[in-house]
Every structure is written in C-alpha cells, then in structure tokens.
C-alpha cells in the first residue's frame, strides 16, 4: 500500500484538462477501479476543473494541485486545491430538472453532476486555498 500522496500541479487553464484527467484516471485504475466508475469520476473531475480553470483566478494566472491517495479496499481520496478567490462550488443551487426546454436555465448542471457522482464531496477553505475532497468508492453510482 502506498502511503505517500501522489500529486500534480498544473496551470489553471483549459490546456491542463487532459493531463489532469489522465492523472486521476491512472491513479484510480492502479487501484483496480473499473471503467464505468472511472468514467463517472472523469466527468466529476472535468466539471470541477473547468470551473476552477475558468473562474478561480478571475483572469490572472494560477495553479491547481491534484492529489490522489489510495486508501485500500478499492477506495481512493482525490483532492483538488487552488489559491483563487474563496468559492464553495457545492453551495450552488441544484437545477430544476423538471423544467421544459423554454423554462430550463442554462448552467448549474456541472456541480450537480459532481454531487450525484461523488456524494461525499466536501469543500473547505484552508488559509489561502480552496480545497475539494472527493472520497471515491469503487462501485459506479449510476
């Protein structure tokens, strides 16, 4: 069992998306997590990262740290941290899923997906950092 957390630090820009997703996929796959669950986590991670890349640094340059720690028993802990403006994405109101095409508001689905796919996701502000913690269970949610 690996005890040392592995992490990467990337520029907070869309050009880092594929590298970041590949890092998390590689980490979770090494834990034996199956393809269906890998795809769900990939979706959750895209939604989180795109939000940070677009908004966290309000147009300034910045970085994002992604850590992936294996916890045994097919579980892992993924942490995403930035030093941008304090922002809790989980406080976002859920979209109205029953609204028709004309009434349905554009946006708000990304965070909703994160909550559906990783129900135990948590946010905390620690010093200058926004930190999202995603405990990953091996079984697919959907």
């Amino acid at each position: 069992m690996k005890q040392i957390p592995e992490y990467i630090r990337v520029p907070a820009s869309m050009g880092s998306l594929q590298t970041s997703l590949a890092f998390v996929r590689f980490c979770l796959a090494s834990q034996g997590i199956g393809e269906a669950r890998l795809r769900e986590v990939e979706l959750a991670m895209e939604e989180i990262l795109v939000n940070i890349f677009r908004y966290a640094y309000a147009g300034r340059n910045g970085e994002v740290e992604i850590a992936c720690r294996l916890e045994g028993g097919g579980r892992a802990l993924v942490e995403v941290a930035d030093r941008g403006i304090p922002f809790d994405p989980l406080s976002h109101q859920d979209p109205d899923l029953r609204a028709g095409i004309e009434e349905r508001k554009i946006g708000g689905l990304g965070v909703f997906f994160v909550k559906q796919l990783v129900p135990d996701v948590r946010y905390r502000r620690e010093g200058e950092r926004n930190i999202l913690t995603l405990p990953i269970e091996a079984d697919p949610m959907l």
């Binding site: 869309m14 998306l17 594929q18 269906a36 795809r39 990939e42 979706l43 895209e46 939604e47 795109v50 979209p95 899923l97 029953r98 609204a99 028709g100 095409i101 004309e102 349905r104 554009i106 946006g107 689905l109 990304g110 909703f112 997906f113 559906q116 959907l142």
Partner: protein, 110 residues
C-alpha cells in the same frame, strides 16, 4: 470529436463521434448554429458514436434547443450509449427531449 451532417428529407441528421467535453463543446455548438443559420430547424442528433458528454455539451444542446423552439423547430436524439444515456438521465434531459433507439426511428418522428 467528429461531426458529420446529412440531409434526410426535411431533416438534418447530425452524427457525433468521440467526446463532447469542455474542449469540444464550442465546435459542436457552432456546427449546430451553422445548420440553423442555413434554415435547418429539424435536427436529428445521432449519438451512436458518442462516448462521453459533460455539462458543457448539455449546455450547447439546451442553448440550441431553445433557439430552435423559438423558430418552431426541434432537436431530437438517437442512439445514446451507456454513459451518455446516464448523463441524459441524471440531468433530466431524458425527459425534456425525445429520444429514440435508432436514427431510423427518430426520422419517422420528424
């Protein structure tokens, strides 16, 4: 992501392969906008070859669907595969859009 378009009677069939994510959704939406600009208001979107879609892709779909509806048009879907079907389901898109198993079935409904 790869997009191909063909005409079938009064409808346009848009087939998308690969991934619609935050990196490719803009191109997908531009493709749909070009069809609308050319007067195509009946779109069948064939997702048989689509492996992945994120909220960026759904945003493009909803934005296009709103514009089509305002013009009396419509966008319907066919061929959704496992992961894409799941995303449609949890987002509620599965109940606000008409979805068919195959392109042929969808074309019969246009």
């Amino acid at each position: 992501m790869e997009i191909t378009v063909k005409k079938e009677g009064s409808a346009s069939v848009v087939s998308v392969k690969g991934r619609i994510d935050a990196l490719t959704a803009g191109e997908f939406e531009k493709g749909l906008a070009a069809l609308m600009a050319g007067g195509d208001y009946a779109l069948v979107v064939d997702f048989k070859g689509l492996e992945y879609i994120s909220s960026a892709g759904l945003r493009s779909i909803l934005s296009t669907a709103k514009q089509l509806k305002a013009k009396g048009g419509e966008m319907i879907f066919a061929g959704l595969q496992g992961p894409v079907k799941d995303v449609f389901k949890i987002s509620g898109f599965g109940s606000i859009f008409k979805i068919f198993d195959t392109e042929e079935e969808a074309l019969r409904q246009v």
